[in-house]
């Protein structure tokens, strides 16, 4: 394999990667179902989520830690919801520390989780497996 061919393959792959990245940054991810719920408070809640390292224990869309539950749909989960979330954040549990957050911070975090809830579903429980190993997600979970 000549050096010229190696360089060609390398730069070819790199060029494709850049184009691919451009589509991921734009068209591939423009669908945000929760957009109208992204208030200024929710934006601040997202930064608080990072500041308190919530992701070390919790997941969003199955990504994050394993100590606590996935929080993607905790707001719309029957029997849970906003007041349930607020009470956990305020008081902590034997597993979860009480971070002694102010009322405003608790509200911001809840608002962020409300936005997350509207963006999609996790975990996916209602689906159909196709012949090629892919899945078709159904609307009702």
């Amino acid at each position: 394999m000549s050096t010229k061919l190696k360089r060609f393959v390398f730069w070819g792959l790199f060029f494709l990667f850049i184009i691919y990245g451009f589509f991921i940054y734009t068209l591939g991810t423009e669908n945000d179902g929760g957009k109208r719920f992204l208030t200024e408070e929710a934006k601040r809640g997202k930064l608080l989520f990072q500041e308190y390292n919530c992701t070390s224990c919790h997941q969003l869309y199955g990504l994050g830690g394993y100590m606590g539950p996935d929080l993607t749909n905790v707001i719309s989960d029957p029997g849970k919801g906003e007041s349930y979330v607020k009470s956990f954040i305020k008081n902590g549990t034997p597993q979860m520390p009480n971070f002694h957050l102010s009322e405003t911070d608790v509200n911001a975090l809840t608002e962020y989780l409300n936005y997350v809830d509207k963006t999609g579903i996790s975990p996916v429980r209602n689906f159909e497996i196709r012949y090629d190993g892919t899945i078709m997600q159904k609307a009702i979970q």
Binding site: Q50, D70, P123
Partner: protein
């Protein structure tokens, strides 16, 4: 120190590995016994563990490159001074990061939980490394062996993907969760691939030296395998975000690309068949033993990787402990085994130190304890993950009920993790002492 910069990197890497394993073991017990060692809660322990173990991988791989280039490739470093600045930048930033974690100062994201400002010195240290590496290797006339390509690729893509993983600081990315998660995991997927390039390049280099055969690293096959690996690095990451509602083609492309890993799998099986006799002969050489172990873990981990790339399987395994098994299998089974092989190779080389029989036996026992514990560790994680997946999807149980069901497996996983830690202490302590004595003398 200027002359021994590679060895100093390796020395620090072992310290980082042992410290990382200590925090990892604490985290594992906190995971199964809430309230255990409350002085350092889980949300601080986990980033300490992850950052130190990632540092082990980078420091040992970089140390190897700084050592091998002048000594074996006849390529004196362009600037030793720059390499020294590199390591001091790394040490100072590393200490700042650890302090932030200990005091609960976060602000970043999973794996880079430290405040974003600390990403700047990390980036600068890699720019210095890249500059030094390319100024050094461009002196080489004639065909580059594949490991020089792999190291170059690892360095370039680290810089690219590390930057990409910080795009969240811009509201355009941060204010759309779907885009934010997708870009974050695109970056992480390729970032892992970039350090794999550094590590696998090291494996090929060490193997070439042990065998004394320089043709393998320049063969056509080696380059096709490298390009296949690179393609997977660039486009095969999306199994992390199959359930995130992006456009479908992102998933289909990743699925198709991931299946090309079957070619790598077949190649491993073919290699085993054809080189068994030689492997038996070299097995008694310690660095080679670790390379053989990594080969077995590559095989097992690749099967798992291919399976979780199939969307119908991924829907059950995503967000479960099977993902952890996959990550740990790569980090310990593959990367750590290869890097330990490189570390032992360098120690033999620099110190001309023949370990006394008792130390050799301790390393050998450590090797077996690590590998057997890793096997049980991954088995329990896989069982726990599979059961969790079924209980979530089919039985629709609550988180608490699921954790109760799988807790026996998780307790066994924590004890196996302690076994890995003990095994790694036995494996790395004699080399660490030898290296310390060597550096002290210098």
């Amino acid at each position: 120190m200027k002359k021994e910069v590679g060895v100093f990197f390796i020395f620090l890497s072992i310290v980082a590995l042992l410290a990382g394993m200590l925090f990892g073991s604490l985290s594992a017990f906190q995971f199964v016994f809430p309230g255990f060692f409350d002085l350092l809660p889980f949300f601080k322990n986990r980033p300490l563990h992850v950052s130190l173990v990632v540092s082990w991988i980078f420091l040992s791989a970089i140390g190897g490159i700084y050592y091998y280039l002048p000594k074996y490739c006849n390529l004196p470093l362009f600037s030793r001074k720059m390499a020294v600045i590199h390591i001091w930048l790394f040490i100072v930033t590393g200490l700042l990061i650890l302090t932030c974690y200990l005091f609960g100062k976060f602000g970043g994201r999973e794996y880079w939980e430290f405040p974003a400002i600390l990403a700047i010195p990390i980036f600068i240290s890699w720019v210095l490394f890249a500059f030094n590496y390319f100024k050094t290797v461009f002196k080489k006339i004639g065909q580059w062996p594949v490991y020089l390509w792999m190291w170059a690729t690892g360095i370039c893509f680290f810089l690219f993907t590390f930057t990409e993983s910080y795009l969240w600081v811009f509201p355009y990315f941060r204010d759309n969760l779907i885009r934010d998660l997708t870009v974050q995991w695109k970056a992480y997927g390729a970032l892992t691939g970039s350090w794999n390039m550094l590590v696998y390049g090291t494996a090929i280099f060490v193997m070439e030296r042990i065998k004394g055969d320089e043709t393998v690293a320049k063969s056509k096959l080696a380059f096709w395998m490298y390009f296949l690996g690179l393609t997977n690095l660039l486009f095969g990451w999306a199994h992390h975000i199959y359930i995130v509602p992006t456009v479908p083609w992102i998933r289909y492309l990743a699925y198709a690309i991931s299946m090309t890993e079957l070619l790598i799998l077949s190649k491993i099986i073919w290699n085993w068949k054809s080189s068994l006799e030689q492997a038996k002969k070299d097995y008694y050489f310690l660095p080679f033993r670790f390379l053989v172990a990594s080969d077995v873990w590559i095989f097992l981990n690749l099967i798992l990787a291919i399976l979780i790339s199939i969307p119908a399987v991924n829907v059950y395994t995503h967000g479960t402990h099977i993902t952890v098994a996959h990550a740990m299998g790569s980090a310990i089974g593959i990367n750590t085994m290869i890097l330990l092989s490189s570390v032992l190779f360098i120690i033999n080389d620099v110190t001309k130190f023949n370990f006394p029989k008792i130390q050799k036996n301790i390393i050998r026992a450590g090797f077996w304890i690590t590998n057997i514990s890793l096997l049980t560790f991954l088995t329990f994680l896989t069982i726990a993950g599979a059961e969790k997946g079924i209980l979530v999807i089919e039985n629709k149980l609550s988180f608490r009920a699921i954790m109760q069901e799988i807790s026996p497996y998780l307790i066994s996983f924590a004890w196996s993790g302690l076994g890995i830690f003990i095994g790694l202490i036995m494996t790395t302590l004699p080399p660490l002492i030898a290296m310390f004595q060597y550096l002290k003398k210098k």
